[in-house]
């Protein structure tokens, strides 16, 4: 193990490069990359790293970055890219195509507010816009997790029972540009953890068309297969977690991670770095005699509805804190939680969109509001500026 002081962007690049090298005995590694703040440091760093049987292609747009990755992946190579915000919006057409082609591409996405008006700070609306694209989505809480999740993403996505692309999301600047001590995986360990990629449907010399026309019945079958694969994914994730701890001695989080939930009467549900702030607030509230808990949603796709329902079944009041806003309905996490758990009192709060700094006092205010309610109502936008 080598512990280094790294930003999440650099930790991500190092994880991607070592995953790329690990496929040198198979068909290699390839990446199409394009800069966008706050992800740029990742692809800058990746471009300078030595990767045996690997190639980083410097393209002219995010749309092409994903297309290059699709070419690499369909050719049987391991593939990675990184993007953010408007880059993801521009890339979207090929994001959809990547999962439709069942290509296990891994993308590091730095969550940033969509513009215009232009804003480079954290907001989950960019990757949540892509939640229906057939990608696995995980949201990280610290730099170590970004590094580890990326390695795990290759193992998960490339599993023959899965064959799906995976998006590893992290908060702009809070993680992307913040230095943290990070255990960087050694190459032999990565080699052991990531078996050579065998893409069963790779484009070889056989005459056939990948991605041609689908009549309604075939289209329905293909979409159903994607959906059913998502359903199997939590079991595969358990195996990936076990292999990861065995190889690296560190644990990967479950799809939902609870904190002091066992006897909680109120709970904060959130994603990303807000979860760390939520734990501080839970401790403060507990010190005041309030039975508070928190729950972090790590995996947004497949959506862990069942796990959420079980974890929150005994909690009387739930504050769902979204760092995104879908105009016309509210927070996306909130709507999905309500739709899958049927929780009788889940109140939606929108906190820290457009990069607002979410501090403990804001989440304390959320819990105070929740405790004062007898029923849930319309989502509230909490000002944090």
């Amino acid at each position: 193990m080598s512990v280094q002081l790294l930003t999440a962007n650099h930790a991500a690049a190092m994880a991607a490069a070592s995953a790329g090298r690990a496929n040198r005995t198979a068909r290699g590694f390839g990446s199409g990359v394009y800069p966008i703040t706050p992800q740029t440091e990742c692809i800058e760093y990746l471009s300078g790293l030595e990767i045996e049987r690997g190639k980083v292609v410097l393209v002219e747009s995010e749309h092409s970055a994903m297309a290059v990755c699709m070419g690499f992946s369909l050719g049987g190579a391991r593939s990675f890219t990184a993007s953010s915000s408007n880059g993801l919006a521009y890339m979207a057409e090929n994001v959809y195509a990547a999962s439709a082609y069942r290509l296990p591409i891994v993308m590091m996405a730095v969550n940033r507010t969509l513009g215009p008006p232009w804003n480079i700070w954290v907001d989950h609306g960019d990757t949540l816009m892509l939640r229906d694209m057939g990608w696995v989505q995980v949201y990280c809480e610290d730099n170590q997790e970004v590094h580890d999740m990326l390695l795990a993403a290759f193992r998960l996505g490339e599993d023959p029972r899965v064959l799906l692309p995976v998006m590893v999301c992290q908060d702009a600047f809070v993680l992307s540009h913040t230095l943290m001590s990070t255990d960087v995986a050694e190459q032999p360990a990565v080699d052991a953890f990531l078996p050579p990629l065998q893409l069963p449907h790779r484009l070889d010399t056989r005459a056939r068309t990948v991605g041609g026309l689908d009549f309604p019945h075939e289209a329905e079958v293909h979409r159903r297969q994607l959906h059913e694969t998502m359903g199997r994914l939590p079991l595969v994730w358990k195996e990936v977690q076990a292999a990861f701890v065995e190889t690296f001695g560190r644990t990967l989080p479950d799809p939902v991670v609870g904190y002091r939930l066992e006897d909680a009467d109120v709970a904060i549900v959130c994603m990303g770095t807000t979860a760390a702030t939520a734990r501080v607030v839970v401790d403060q509230l507990r010190a005041e005699g309030i039975n508070a808990g928190s729950l972090r949603v790590v995996m947004m796709r497949p959506f862990p509805g069942e796990a959420l329902r079980e974890a929150l079944a005994h909690v009387a009041k739930v504050a769902v804190v979204d760092r995104d806003l879908s105009p016309g309905i509210g927070g996306i996490l909130w709507t999905e939680l309500c739709g899958t758990t049927g929780h009788p009192m889940a109140q939606g709060y929108i906190v820290g969109i457009g990069g607002g700094d979410v501090r403990p006092e804001h989440l304390a205010r959320v819990v105070a509001d929740l405790r004062g309610r007898s029923t849930a109502g319309q989502p509230l936008i909490v000002e944090v500026a």
Binding site: L58, A67, N94, T209
Partner: protein, 299 residues
């Protein structure tokens, strides 16, 4: 039904019939120029492992519904603007694994002149080891015949019913200006020249771009049997110069053009798409002269 080889034995051989690049039963219209260039490409690539990357266009529709494929080669369907980028990935996998696979984009004018243009330019700029063939029917044929930036001046389309009022984009000149190893136009009426260029382009390394004027009887409102004759007239009149450019600075004209006005008026009169606008031959002639002066400066 004769099974004698056609075009002096260049196409229609036993191999062409048993292992064609574009198989029988595909959905292309009769007289489609794209079908002809695929026949020639299949012949030229007989000794090459070929991978095709086809964006949205008639070329991917003709592949047919899943799990069928009308192509006798592996095909990756790319999104409309992505062919050259997707081919870049496939081409690098072949290079990283020391494979002889030739990766070939096969795209219409919409995916080349318009929506795929930035991607095409970037792939040329990086000089990727990709052969890009544009079959140019001067129209969005797949969507029913709308104008593209390849549509010539005066042509009626569903979105320019009285005729297009601006000139066609000179995509070959633009790609040549990237300084890539090889760009060329291909005339379907000159199959020997076409085969030579296809073979040269398949063997060359780096980015190669071939532009094919591909008659579209449906969009051009012409007789399916007139396609090759239309290309011959386009060449004879000077409207479609047959030339190649090496490394962006050395041009060779492969077929001398008579610059014949009679051929020009016959080219227009055989197609319904120019009827509405009543193309003025003298202004088209001025435009043709401009193109040839530009090519002359290169030779």
């Amino acid at each position: 039904m004769s099974h004698e080889p056609l075009l002096d034995g260049m196409v229609g051989t036993k191999r062409d019939r048993t292992e064609p690049l574009l198989r029988a039963g595909n959905t292309n219209c009769g007289g489609c120029g794209m079908s002809v260039i695929l026949q020639l490409l299949g012949r030229a690539a007989a000794d090459h492992p070929l991978q095709l990357v086809i964006p949205a266009c008639c070329g991917i529709v003709t592949a047919g519904p899943f799990p069928c494929s009308a192509y006798g080669a592996p095909v990756m369907a790319a999104t409309f603007a992505s062919a050259a980028a997707a081919a870049t990935g496939l081409s690098w996998v072949a290079q990283l694994n020391d494979e002889k696979t030739r990766v070939c984009c096969f795209a219409g004018d919409g995916g080349t002149f318009d929506i795929g243009f930035a991607t095409l330019s970037a792939t040329a700029e990086r000089n990727e080891d990709v052969l890009y063939i544009c079959y140019d029917n001067e129209i969005y044929g797949n969507t029913g015949g709308q104008r593209s930036s390849a549509t010539p001046l005066g042509a009626s389309t569903t979105t320019t019913p009285t005729g297009k009022t601006v000139r066609k984009k000179d995509v070959l000149g633009i790609i040549a200006a990237h300084g890539v190893p090889y760009v060329a136009t291909i005339s379907l009426a000159h199959p020997e020249d076409a085969m030579r260029k296809l073979r040269y382009a398949l063997n060359a390394r780096g980015f190669r771009f071939l532009h094919v004027l591909a008659p579209c009887p449906t969009g051009w409102k012409s007789e399916p049997g007139d396609g090759i004759e239309l290309v011959r007239l386009a060449v004879r009149s000077g409207l479609y110069p047959v030339y190649e450019v090496f490394d962006g600075d050395r041009a060779v004209v492969n077929v001398q053009s008579a610059q014949d006005d009679e051929a020009l008026s016959r080219y227009f009169s055989l197609q319904g798409r120019f009827r509405r606008s009543q193309v003025d031959i003298s202004s088209v002639r001025a435009e043709i002269s401009r193109t040839w002066r530009r090519i002359a400066a290169w030779t």
